[in-house]
Each structure stands twice: as C-alpha cells, then as structure tokens.
C-alpha cells in the first residue's frame, strides 16, 4: 500500500532522512518509533508530500506521487487522511462543519455529508456534540472528532502523527482502541509515528525503529521477542522495567557483597512457572522481591523482577545458572552492604 524507496531529505545542514526504504502492506497497522528528531515526522509527511523528499520514490496505492503535478496530487491525497498531535480542528467551525470539511473539499453533496456525519459521530461516540465547537471539547474528544473527520472521505490510509502524545494515559488507551475498532471495521491501513512504546505495543502489527534519519530495525511485533538483539525488544523492556526508587539506588555500589541486586526478565512460557518460590526452595536461598512488573505484548507475556538476594558468590553463581536454564535474562545491577530496604 505504501512503498518508500531511497528517501532522502536534508534541511540546510541537518539531514532528516538518509536513504530510507519502507514497505507497508495493505490493512496493516504499522508503527514507527523513535526519539524526537529521529526523522519519523518527516518520513510520515513524505507519504502525503506535506514534505517533499530531496530524492526517492513515494508509491501510494501503486502510484508514484512524487511525479504528480498539483491537481493529480490533490486527488491522490484524498486516499490518505492524517490526524495530528495538536488535533488541528478549526475553532471557527462546529463539530459538524469540521467533519464536513474534507467532504466539502471533495465536492460531496450536503445530503450525503449529513448521513456520513451522523454515522461517524456514532462510531466515535460523540453524537450529542454535533453542534459543539472544538473549544468546548476535551483533548480526547477533539482527537475523536479529528478521527471522524479523517474517515469522512473513506481514505485507504490513515497517517497518525503522534496522535496520542498530547493525551493522558487513559485517553490514549481509548483513542488506541478506537483506532483498532476502525481498523477492524474498515480494514484501513494505519501508519503511526510515536515516541511511546506503549502505543506500538498495544495496536501495531509491525514496528520500525528510527534513529538519526534511518530505519534501524523493522520487525513484526510477534517476532520482536524471538530476536535477542532486537532494539524494539529492549525498548519494550525499558518501558516495562520500573526504575529503582532513589532510596535503594543510593545504597547500591559496585563493590561485591553478599547482597546483590539483580534484574530478571522473563517472557513467554517461563512467566507462568513459579520460578522464584521453586528456586528459593531448591537453593535454600532468600529472595527479596523489590519490584516487579508484568505485561502482555501481542501474544507474549513478559515481566521484569528486581530482587535482592542473600547469597555468597557460589550461591549467586548457581542462581544465575538456574536463571539461564529457565531462559531468564539476568543482570546484576549492584550490591548493597546492608539491606536494601
């Protein structure tokens, strides 16, 4: 559905895209993740030519849109719709007129517009807000209106530019499940960019990691976990892993003692085995759980544990060995010389 080849874009002395290739299949929810300044926003804007790449091809639905003259380009843009971080609703227009806007631009008659709007407002659950103005809506409601507006002309592709970054976590979840619902309903191809792994994790089928103008990884979400060196995987873990409270961190040092602090990652089947209690029993080892978190990504359950052991060196070695037998990733964070808590 979207095929980008050799995209390059340079602003003055800063190069935003360096020879980027990307392929997005029809009906896919594709996530591009990266830090701000990684070039993901430029990349997204190249797909509807809000940014024109210096070189490279942008093929959308079989058409190389970089070669189009202004009029056919406008028609090609009718196939893609975009939602924005700041929603970009028109404050001067009511919810109704905002949603009608792209349809009026395409010259759709008012009777069909009216029918379409009531259908869309029903979908985004904002029926009663039809004559409200955007300033009276919350952030989440504004994004719902923007989604309804984007869908009004039945586009094939929905581009989401940090669509949830201005929203709180609960609203983010609600918007993401709305996107999922839309995807299930219309089979629309969704390409989203975000800096939050949580967004990618909850709805994407594929993820590309962008850094310094390049795509450094491109994987199906289901395969993220089978690749030990996957960047997306380590980002998922970073997101999963809680940070140690300051009071523990300041007691920690790198000088070995009998109280090591370890971080354990587990995933898939291992998460269901009562590993800690079994290990504690078999090695007669005291394990003090300081922090724990568990989550499910796609079909894989994974978790992280931060534990304090009461173990001398040989005991620690056998603990680590046992972890490895159970496919747990172990990392020694440091040692405390009295108890951590």
């Amino acid at each position: 559905m979207i095929e980008l080849t050799g995209l390059t874009k340079t602003y003055q002395d800063h190069s935003a895209l360096k020879n980027v290739d990307l392929f997005v299949q029809e009906g896919e929810i594709f996530g591009i993740i990266g830090k701000s300044g990684a070039g993901k926003s430029t990349l997204l804007r190249c797909i509807n030519l809000l940014e024109r790449p210096d070189s490279g091809q942008v093929i959308v639905d079989g058409e190389n849109i970089t070669e189009l003259s202004p009029h056919p380009l406008r028609l090609a843009r009718h196939k893609t719709a975009m939602i924005f971080q700041q929603f970009n609703l028109l404050n001067s227009k009511s919810v109704y007129d905002n949603i009608a806007l792209p349809m009026r631009i395409q010259g759709i008659d008012e009777d069909r517009i009216r029918i379409k709007i009531s259908e869309l407002l029903n979908l985004v659950e904002l029926d009663e807000k039809i004559h409200t103005y955007p300033s009276q809506l919350s952030g989440g409601q504004k994004q719902r209106v923007a989604i309804a507006r984007a869908l009004s002309t039945s586009p094939k592709i929905l581009l989401c530019d940090e669509a949830t970054s201005a929203l709180d976590p609960q609203t983010t979840d609600a918007i993401l499940s709305l996107l999922q619902k839309i995807h299930a309903l219309y089979g629309i191809t969704i390409l989203l960019i975000t800096h939050e792994m949580a967004v990618v994790k909850s709805i994407c089928h594929r993820v590309a990691v962008m850094d310094a103008g390049k795509i450094i990884e491109n994987t199906a979400m289901a395969q993220v976990f089978s690749k030990q060196d996957s960047i997306a995987r380590s980002m998922l873990y970073a997101q999963l892993s809680p940070t140690l409270p300051h009071c523990i961190e300041e007691k920690m040092s790198l000088v070995p003692s009998n109280q090591p602090i370890l971080r354990l990652f587990f995933e898939g089947q291992d998460a269901t085995v009562p590993f800690i209690s079994q290990t504690s029993r078999e090695l007669s080892l005291d394990i003090n759980i300081l922090l724990a978190n568990i989550d499910r990504f796609d079909t894989v359950t994974c978790g992280v544990l931060i534990v304090e052991l009461n173990a001398n060196k040989p005991l620690l070695q056998s603990f680590i060995k046992r972890c490895e037998q159970f496919n747990l990733t172990v990392e020694i964070l440091g040692y405390v010389h009295n108890h951590a808590l």
Partner: protein, 215 residues
Amino acid sequence: MSITMLYDLLIATGETLYMVFASTFFALLLGLPLGTVLFTSARIKPNPAIHHLIAGFINFSRSIPFIILLVALIPLTRLLVGTSIGIHAAMVPLTLGATPFFARLVDNAYQSLPKGLIETGQSMGASTWQTIFHLLLPEAMPHLIHAMTVTAITLVNYSAMAGTVGGGGLGDLAIRYGYQRFDLTIMLITVLILVVIVQAIQVGGDKLAKRFLHD
C-alpha cells in the same frame, strides 16, 4: 452657538462618517485580496517573485507620510473623480493610504493562525482557493475584524487630515473654525464627536469579532 453652526457640525459629521466607512469598505476590498496573496505566495503556494513584489509595494507605500500621499495623489484623484476637492476626492488617498496598511494587518492575522492549519488543508487535498475559503478566512475572521476596526479608526484620523486640504468633514471644520478662527468650542465639539466615532467603531468591531470567536 448658532443654528447654522449646528447644521455645519451635523453635515461635517455625516461627511466624516461617509468618508470613513466608504474608504474602509474600499480598503477592505483592495487590501483583503492583497494581504491574502501576500500570505499565500509565501506559505500556501510559494511564489517568491510575487511575494517580494507585494511586500515591497506595501512597505514602500506605508513609508510615505499620509499628508504627502494626499498631495501626491492629486493628479490621480482628478483622473478618477474629476476634482481634487471634496469628500469624494478625499476618498481616493484615504483608500489608497489604508489599503497597504490593511493588507499588512491581514497578513499578520493569517500568520497568527496555528502552523498546522495549512498542513491540515493540504493533507485533505485542498486547492489553494479551497484552503483560503474553507480554512484561512473562517479561522482568521475574528482577527480580520480586528484589523478592519483598526483600519477604520486610522481612517478617522486620516480623514481629519484630508480635511485640511479641502476634503470636508470634521477635520475641515476643526481647522477652519477651531484653528483659523480660534473658536475653542467648535474645536472641542469636533474632538468630542471624533472620540465618540472612534469609541463606537471599536465597540462595534469588538462585538462583531466576538460573534465569530468560538471559545
């Protein structure tokens, strides 16, 4: 104060209002497209040649003091109106003096809109005209009304100046009676009427702008 004096005041007030509103109207008619092209040629459909031409013209004409413009335009006024004296003649320099001013305010109004607005239109596949009519103008409307108010008030000022060169209106009256005949009462009354006119325009403009502001 005599009846004829009162009559003169009434006529002069009418003339001032007529000059101000008519030249505001013409300044809008010319300045809105000019300001819109100025903005459009920079931000929607970039055309540096047109943009610099218009920007240059606006800056040039705004740098000419109005009193000089008033005199310099006399040949043009004669050509258009047939005379260089009277309220109709005064409307030529008034309109041409206010047009670049209003055009610049229009450009400022558009520039104060959020950056994402034009992008939104483009992402919908809007043409330049559609972007202007469906997005730019409605979103900028309250700002444009403020710009119109400021322009009308500036024209009240200019019209008084036009009075000094035979343009008629309250400025003319103030100069002839107040200044040349030292009639302080007339001078004060004219100033008072001007204050009321300016107030009325400001309040009216604010009210109108509020109707377009939905927050």
